[in-house]
């Protein structure tokens, strides 16, 4: 078994795929360098993240599969699932070795798996578009914290940019410790570091805009008033809105 180590980024992974083909590795395990546990008998191959190599793989794939299918691979990658590289590599090998487009061959194990994982990530992307809750600070910034299971921040950037075009906002992924910021019409990814053990990521109440408490109160009141007690169905509520998202939602948890 040949271990192939890359830097954990999407480009890094695509460059790894390039190397797998370039070195004609067959029995191979691609994994991020920081997750590598060591193999007994062989030296790992370390991938240099070369954007040119990555782009050649991406372009080669687009000769075989549609842009939608290629976007699915990226979504899948962002799932962060253990051994996701194995599934992606199996899919890519099948796609590159086949004549007609295989993206609709749901009877192939890698294709159905990629489809299902991509769907799972898409579902959380859609949930984040729904469950992000901004809090307005005194200097006019709308600030939100999320802790998604998957790394969906890159996937929701466009939605929030289009929607809140005239607004300064920041969405911070507290699990992965980076954020998405929108200022003057452009979005950018930013590193935000809080001191170890500090709660400052969560506790922004001391910098609230004067109206923030009122609107949180009104929102809670609204959620109470539109509920129909005679139809109570907590199971259904949790099914649609799993508890792990409640922490940052003022109407129910946060």
């Amino acid at each position: 078994m040949q271990a192939v180590l890359y830097d954990g980024s999407w480009y890094g992974f695509m460059a790894a795929v390039f190397d797998v083909y370039d070195y004609r590795f067959t029995d191979v395990s691609v994994c991020p360098a920081d997750r590598f546990n060591g193999h007994l008998f062989s030296e790992p191959h370390r991938v240099y993240t070369d954007e040119k190599k990555a782009k050649r793989v991406a372009a080669g794939l687009l000769n075989k599969i549609s842009e939608d299918a290629s976007a699915q691979l990226y979504r899948c990658f962002l799932s962060g699932d253990a051994a996701i590289e194995e599934t992606l590599l199996a899919y890519i090998r099948y796609a590159l070795s086949s004549g007609p487009s295989v993206e609709s061959d749901f009877s192939h194990p890698a294709v159905i798996k990629v489809t299902q994982i991509a769907k799972k990530v898409w579902r959380e992307q859609h949930r984040m578009e729904a469950f992000v809750r901004f809090q307005k600070t005194a200097d006019g910034l709308f600030y939100a914290i999320i802790e998604p299971d998957h790394d969906v921040l890159p996937l929701i950037a466009k939605h929030f940019k289009n929607r809140y075009a005239d607004q300064r906002w920041l969405i911070y992924d507290a699990r992965r410790r980076y954020g998405l910021s929108h200022e003057d019409g452009g979005v950018s990814f930013i590193e935000v570091s809080f001191a170890e053990g500090s709660t400052s990521a969560r506790d922004v109440a001391h910098v609230y805009d004067a109206s923030e408490d009122l609107y949180q109160k009104l929102w809670k009141q609204y959620m109470t008033s539109v509920n129909i007690a005679a139809r109570k169905n907590l199971r259904l509520q949790v099914q649609h809105m799993p508890r792990r998202y409640w922490k940052y939602m003022p109407e129910i948890g946060g």
Binding site: D105, Q167, L218, N227, A229, Q237
Partner: protein, 416 residues
């Protein structure tokens, strides 16, 4: 100030909650440098304890009403607290909720506090302020007030993504009994007028690239279920007419929540008919997405849906001569009609079998509901038992089913 607005919100959200529509999908409004958009898919931002989706800020402008409809909490004769928002209050609530990502937009309805035109004018003024002054491009759903002038309806259509007027009762007789001030024609007339205007604006948009949006998410309506004796066949026939003749986007079914001791209505404490409501939504979905006709699902002779099994399974059990279906050869529409196989799995089956003959393992990986489907399909010569009667199949399926058959109470159809 803040206490007063809290009180108003609690009264006017409470009074609006029996209107079950909360959809924010199907529009195509892009953000033009301001705030918000309403493109394609709707978003459910939150869920209340009853498991219902909250997508829009759904409120009444006022619960003052000159009508006395027995099924309505805001009826004239009901002793409830009354309140009214100002235009500015509704605009500020909408914008501030929207900026915090609480909502997709506004769903504004109102009691008829004065003449229909005065009521409608106030709703239109709020929508106009949001669009013109606040540069707001999020979703707006306005109620059409029966009896309002064509000019006002047309202006409403320029600002709103969706308009709706509720038919409330499935028959004229029930409406006359419970809503003496309302006539069915008063509801149908604005619906027909808007339908014509919507179709005309679609035609215009085809020839003219810059034609303004006019009710891009179309019209919807709502029927109260279980307050009156109509059967499911009557209800679905009416819905079918709305879809075919008036091009409605959605008909909502609202299980009656008892709110009064009026002896014309089910008494307080009577359970909300949530299972029946759910079966109606399923049947409605089969009509809109699977090309089922009403008469395939229920008939005048057998006019109620089965509460224990879903309407597609009911249909299949009545039509056993059409089964089993060969998964590897049947056409797409036939596969879609197999119980336990949805639109997505049907599409996957149809695509995947171009590559190889499918087996049970493949079908399981597509996550079909095998418990139901296995009675209706053959796979490479392997088919279901032939000695079972439809009744026996029904009980086998019910015995093997878990939570899915103990009614999903959602008033919204599943999104995925």
């Amino acid at each position: 100030m803040s206490d007063r607005i809290l009180e108003k919100l609690s009264i006017l959200a409470d009074a609006a909650k029996y209107d079950v529509s909360c959809s924010s999908s199907g529009s195509k409004r892009t953000n033009e440098g301001g705030l918000g958009n309403a493109e394609g898919m709707g978003i459910c931002h939150a869920y209340t304890e009853d498991g219902r989706c909250v997508s829009l800020l759904k409120i009444l402008l006022t619960n003052q009403c000159v009508f006395d409809c027995a099924y309505c909490v805001s009826r004239k004769s009901n002793d409830v607290r009354r309140a009214a928002f100002t235009v500015r209050e509704v605009v500020d609530l909408t914008i501030n909720f929207y900026r915090r990502n609480y909502i997709e937009g506004l769903f504004l309805s109102s009691g008829i506090f004065s003449s229909p035109d005065i009521t409608m004018e106030r709703l239109v003024r709020i929508a106009r302020t949001l669009r013109r002054e606040e540069n707001f491009h999020g979703y707006i759903h306005l109620k059409t007030i029966p009896g309002a002038s064509d000019e006002l309806l047309r202006e409403a259509g320029l600002y709103a993504d969706r308009l709706s007027v509720n038919i409330e009762m499935p028959t004229k007789e029930s409406l006359a009994l419970l809503a003496p001030d309302k006539k069915q024609e008063d509801v149908l007339r604005p619906m027909a007028f808007l339908n014509e205007s919507i179709q005309a604006s679609r035609d215009e948009a085809r020839s003219l690239k810059t034609a303004p949006l006019f009710v891009p998410a179309g019209q919807s309506t709502q029927m109260v279920i279980g307050a009156t004796p109509e059967n499911d066949w009557q209800i679905l026939k009416l819905s079918d007419g709305f879809y075919r003749k008036l091009n409605l986007k959605r008909v909502y079914y609202s299980g009656y929540v008892p709110i009064s001791n009026d002896n014309r209505l089910p008494a307080i404490g009577t359970p909300v008919p949530m299972v029946r409501e759910n079966r109606l939504y399923q049947a409605d979905w089969l009509m809109r997405r699977y090309n089922f006709t009403v008469d395939e699902l229920v008939t005048p002779a057998d006019p109620f849906l089965d509460m224990q099994i879903d309407p597609k399974l009911q249909w299949a059990l009545r039509n056993m001569h059409l089964f089993p279906v060969d998964i590897n050869t049947a056409d797409l529409e036939t596969i879609q009609r197999i119980p336990g196989i949805g639109l997505q799995s049907a599409r996957r089956i149809w695509e995947a079998r171009k590559f190889r003959k499918l087996t049970w393992e493949h079908l399981k990986s597509f996550r079909i509901a095998a418990n139901r489907a296995r009675h209706f399909i053959t796979l490479q010569g392997d088919g279901p038992r032939k000695d079972l009667t439809p009744l026996q199949i029904r009980s086998h399926i019910l015995a093997g089913a878990h939570s899915k058959y103990t009614a999903n109470h959602s008033p919204q159809l599943p999104l995925f």
